[in-house]
Amino acid sequence: MKRVYLDYSATTPTKKEVLDAMLPYFSEVFGNPSSIHGFGREAKKVVNESRATIAGFMNADEKELYFTAGGTESDNWAVKGAAKALKNKGNHIITSKIEHHGILHTCESLEKEGFEVTYLDVDGDGLISLEALEAAIKPETVLISIMFVNNEIGTLQPIKEIGAIAKAHGVLFHTDAVQAFGNFKIDVKDMNIDLMSISSHKIYGPKGIGALYIRKGVRLVNFVDGGAQERKKRAGTENVPSIVGFAKAAEIAYRDFDAHVEKLVALRERLRKGVMETIDYCKYNGHPDQRHPGNAHFAFEFIEGEALLLSLDLVGIAGSSGSACTSGSLDPSHVLMAIGLKHEIAHGSLRLSVGDFTTEEDIDYTIKELKTIVERLRMMSPLYDKVTGGK
């Protein structure tokens, strides 16, 4: 069966170049970077080289980058670490309604500990309002955490403007750049970013490794306590091969940046046009152009997203949905609610994200299959009946 992977926003395959770079660090250069002997020093050296490589792609100093186990841990550390470090200054955090659960659930757990959190609304395209942000800042505000690019609908926030507001008010600014790193040019200095989460497995690197950028001078309470790794800020034996892989993936991403973005946008647009032209009662979500190059997000009326995904899967196509039924929760994705989609439409959502290995044939095949599937599911749907009068 033909298999078409259109879920690059969920995770990416590790590129061959990346895996090749990692291989020597499993069984040959396998030392613990904290050890002072040669085996350890070799490992420490490559960890710090990798750190410098990645830091370079965001215009950070290598001493400002700390490895973690992934984007989620980086989000937890940034938000909990800043909140706890600044709790004598204030207890108010500003974020948005469309953050990843790594931020939202972290904020909820801080609320239980007495912190106050403002969840900014977004407009129909998924953008926060800069005025609302500025208006939400209070003397007690210690942190603003707004994601760079949304993982579901792909919308890009005005990061530099947010950074300027945060700076003007003397408030720390964290951004979850898990979907942005490798797909956008990032300059933490120019954008006034104090804290930034990134993750390797979204950019063709291995899973289970990420990093947190912490601007020099910013103090966080440690999240993982223990040994003296990562300059005493993040304990746990360094995941050397994965760190090497992450750096290689970042290197490839920014080496091939223009071609990558151009290719993804072309494929995504082909997909968007194909779907919008062949399937009616369909909405395209997210910002029309301020968005992730590979992200396409549709909502099909009268049908439910999980059934859509299952049907696509049966013809080898892998996508993702914000439907409640995929996650086992009651409500459709908080992101789709936040952009104002009605429940029935939100339930029929489908994210198709293209990547470096996607082909035009993949896209054309998907458009064709999708049309058949949507029609079939609509024929079963009592809601569609009402539109067609049961015909």
């Binding site: 009268f302 439910e304 999980e306 039924c325 929760s329 409500d331 079963m380 749907s381």
Partner: protein, 149 residues
Amino acid sequence: MYTDQVMDHFTNPRNVGVIEDADGVGEVGNVKCGDIMRIYLKIEDDVITDIKFKTFGCGSAIASSSIATVMIKGKTVDEALALTNKDFVGALGGLPSVKLHCSVLAEEAFKVAVYDYCQKSGKSYAGLEGFDPANADDDHHDHGDEDEE
């Protein structure tokens, strides 16, 4: 995730459609929680001679509707009312715990349809005693905190 039986009933759902001159119609669920099930019945001499469904919902909602219609068709109303969602789940070889509510919806859509038939025909069935269609829309979702897989 799903058993072969679920996938079979999802991909080849039996009895999809509408019965124009149905003797009873039942609809449960709502768009908000993402499942709507409508069941049409043809009943002759207390026997369910035809049954069709339309479902807006996930794979297990569609499969549950399909298996329910298969199990119900040809049975007497009393026999059919004795079936519970557990029977549907059993016939499907199991459902993930977060999806059990789909099978409950199928049971209730059928009951609402029988209720509708009773209203129209003046009949009554022991198996329907105390059944109030107004409660059938209730939320049967299981958050499944512990056993989501």
